[in-house]
């Protein structure tokens, strides 16, 4: 027994070596450069079979149809006549698409350097009717940057994917270099992983105008329709398109904006432009000639603005580097009875607020991973929280005729808010995010 025991112990010394075996596995975002000839991009708009939601972007509602942008890929079209059971109709492939807006039966979508007009009178058979160059030759979409080279007629873009790598290390662990702010700088702009949704809805006031709920951190193009003008915004330019004849958008004036524009929100005769350094109000009484009215630098508007009557509701996130890091997460109520001199009427602290929507007297505020919160805004100076949905990931909302559409990382939720104190979940279109 003793001898065998000794023999048993011996091989143990030589079976494994005395070298440490350590392996580090990293999951990260990988970027690969892609080149697309512009001729390929222009031919690619087509209607096809429905696809699953991966990275939902802007949301648009027209009649019973839901248009959900799939960032840089196209538009998902859903039949939402029964909000409890939305049906996917088709997927419109539009390379480079980030933003959309609808006027009558024409849907405007951007496709890298182009503005495409699509006829949606029959949403099951959508046709391209017109295409016009926006004049923008580059863009920042989320964390990726694209640019257009005129001489080679190519779009240079970046494809983002999640990748995993494993390396053998010396077992002492790694100390990652974390930037001093939680979001990281990428090509000179700050970006947060979660800020990526938008909502647009048809205003119930005038059937011809569309009033978007703004907001989105990350995407470059901003669309807004007011009167007969389509306002398209890049990070520093406001470009107007005359859409008196919706199928023939005509390029109009352009204004240089000296700030990083994030959001644009038309309301009545004004245009509220949210930038990284403040909110600017333009008068568009003559729609083709926007005139700057006021600059309101208290509001760092990476996040949406919604306006109702004499009050603008703005959310600010302290961790967002659109503003100043370290400022508190708040919901600001701004008195805009005098458009040339807006002032903050009341500030409410609110955790990680993102997009908002208003159907007076109910105000809906998205709180990212913290969910969705419903307020009674009958008195804007005394907002009363009514309900909180903590299990939803919510970036933006559209309230429309008693159905609330909430878009977030895990998909699109629809709630019935006929009783604002008690929202009822109707349906969910799940998204399959890569991470």
């Amino acid at each position: 027994m003793k001898a065998t025991l000794l023999l048993l112990l011996l091989p143990l010394f030589f079976l494994t070596s005395c070298t440490d075996n350590c392996e580090r596995t990293t999951t990260y975002r990988k970027y690969t450069s892609v080149q697309l000839p512009i001729s390929d991009v222009r031919q690619a708009v087509s209607s096809g079979t429905p696809q699953p939601l991966v990275e939902p972007g802007k949301l648009y509602v027209k009649d019973q149809y839901l248009f959900i942008v799939e960032i840089k890929k196209g538009i998902h079209i859903f039949d939402n006549s029964d909000p409890a059971n939305p049906k996917a109709i088709s997927f419109l492939s539009i390379p480079g698409n980030v933003d959309i807006a609808v006027r009558d039966n024409i849907l405007y979508a951007d496709s890298y350097i182009d503005l495409v007009a699509l006829d949606i009178s029959n949403p099951t058979a959508i046709k391209e009717v017109n295409r016009v160059e926006t004049g923008f030759t580059n863009g920042l979409v989320g964390r990726t940057y694209w640019s257009y080279d005129k001489t080679s007629m190519k779009i240079y873009d970046q494809r983002e994917e999640i990748a995993t790598t494993t390396v053998k290390t010396d077992c002492e662990g790694s100390f990652n270099i974390l930037p001093y702010l939680i979001p990281i700088a990428w090509f000179g702009r700050y970006y947060e992983s979660l800020a990526f949704a938008d909502g647009v809805y048809n205003s119930s006031q005038a059937p011809k105008t569309t009033t978007p709920t703004t907001g989105v951190g990350g995407s470059m193009a901003r669309f807004a329709i007011s009167n007969n003008q389509l306002y398209v915004v890049s990070s520093s330019t406001l470009q107007l398109f005359d859409i008196t004849d919706p199928a023939k958008p005509t390029k109009g004036k352009s204004a240089t904006l000296n700030w990083n524009v994030e959001t644009i929100f038309p309301y009545r005769n004004s245009l509220f432009i949210g930038t990284t350094t403040g909110m600017y109000i333009y008068d568009v009484t003559s729609p083709a000639e926007p005139k700057q009215l006021a600059a309101f630098s208290h509001v760092r508007s990476c996040d949406p603005v919604v306006v109702h009557d004499n009050y603008a509701y703005v959310t600010l996130r302290g961790t967002s580097t659109c503003g100043v890091a370290g400022t508190q997460d708040v919901l600001d109520v701004i008195d805009i009875s005098n458009l040339s001199a807006p002032r903050v009427a009341k500030t409410y602290p609110l955790e990680t607020p993102y997009g908002l929507g208003i159907d007076y007297p109910t105000l809906f505020v998205c709180q990212g991973n913290k969910g969705l919160r419903v307020f009674d805004a009958s008195n804007p100076l005394d907002l009363k929280p009514q309900q909180t949905f903590a299990n939803v990931n919510a970036f933006d909302v559209i309230p429309i005729s008693k159905t609330l559409l909430t878009i977030g990382k895990d998909g699109l939720y629809q709630y019935d808010y006929s009783n604002p104190a008690n929202l009822r979940l109707l349906s969910k279109i799940a998204a399959q995010p890569a991470y």
């Binding site: 964390r143 053998k168 100390f175 270099i177």
Partner: protein, 214 residues
């Protein structure tokens, strides 16, 4: 290191043939030892953003990538180890109990708690008695540069030694053996560029300890 261990083993075998001495029976055995543990490590690798397919570090302030120069040499590592064992004597060849202690690997400390068995190797209790130890357990991560990120893991440690009996149930111990320790580090990440990073560690060491048994 392996050669030294082997030679020690051979020496033990020779020493086993020797004098015999009578000892009082005691139902409990406690040992306390202290020593060193030695091993080798692979080269250090940079912990940068694996952007464009290889490990380099991205500098967010200046918007460029720079190379990383390893600050730690590959090669030998040596650390302190303290070990205590307490067990019940079933027979002189089999003592079962638990062991605990402190081990230092590279720059991290672990606190192992293990189920252990010890016993005399050749059955006779003499003045110089060879013994074996075998333990398996779990080590808790102690003070280390990564704090809470480091989690402990499974421990396996076979070993042999020689005990110089003093006559009244006490003795002086010299032992050597092998220690396999696993651990895991879940690194903190920015969540935007790097989404997750974990390091699975398996330390392999050879230890030499000296101590007392009573």
């Amino acid at each position: 290191m392996k050669t030294i261990a082997f030679l020690t083993l051979c020496l033990l075998a020779q020493v086993a043939i020797g004098q015999s001495i009578t000892t009082k029976t005691n139902h409990w055995r406690t040992t306390v030892e202290m020593g060193v543990q030695m091993g080798q490590v692979k080269p250090d690798v940079p912990a940068g953003y694996p952007y464009y397919g290889y490990d380099i570090i991205y500098n967010p302030y200046y918007n460029y990538n720079y190379s990383y120069y390893p600050i730690r040499d590959a090669g030998n590592r040596i650390g302190l180890t303290i070990h205590a064992f307490t067990g019940y004597v079933v027979r002189p060849q089999l003592i079962t109990g638990i062991s605990f202690g402190v081990d230092y690997f590279n720059n991290s400390a672990f606190l192992p708690i293990a189920a252990a068995i010890q016993g005399d190797l050749f059955g006779h209790t003499k003045r110089l008695t060879p013994f074996y130890t075998l333990e398996s357990g779990y080590a808790i991560a102690g003070p280390n540069p990564h704090g809470k990120e480091l989690k402990g893991g499974w421990l396996l440690s076979p070993g042999v030694g020689v005990r110089i009996n003093k006559g009244n149930g006490t003795g002086f111990l010299i032992s050597a053996g092998y220690k396999h320790q696993e651990a895991k580090q879940v690194a903190s990440v920015d969540g935007v560029q790097i989404l997750a990073q974990t390091e699975q560690r398996a330390y392999n060491r050879l230890y030499f300890r000296m101590g007392f048994s009573f």
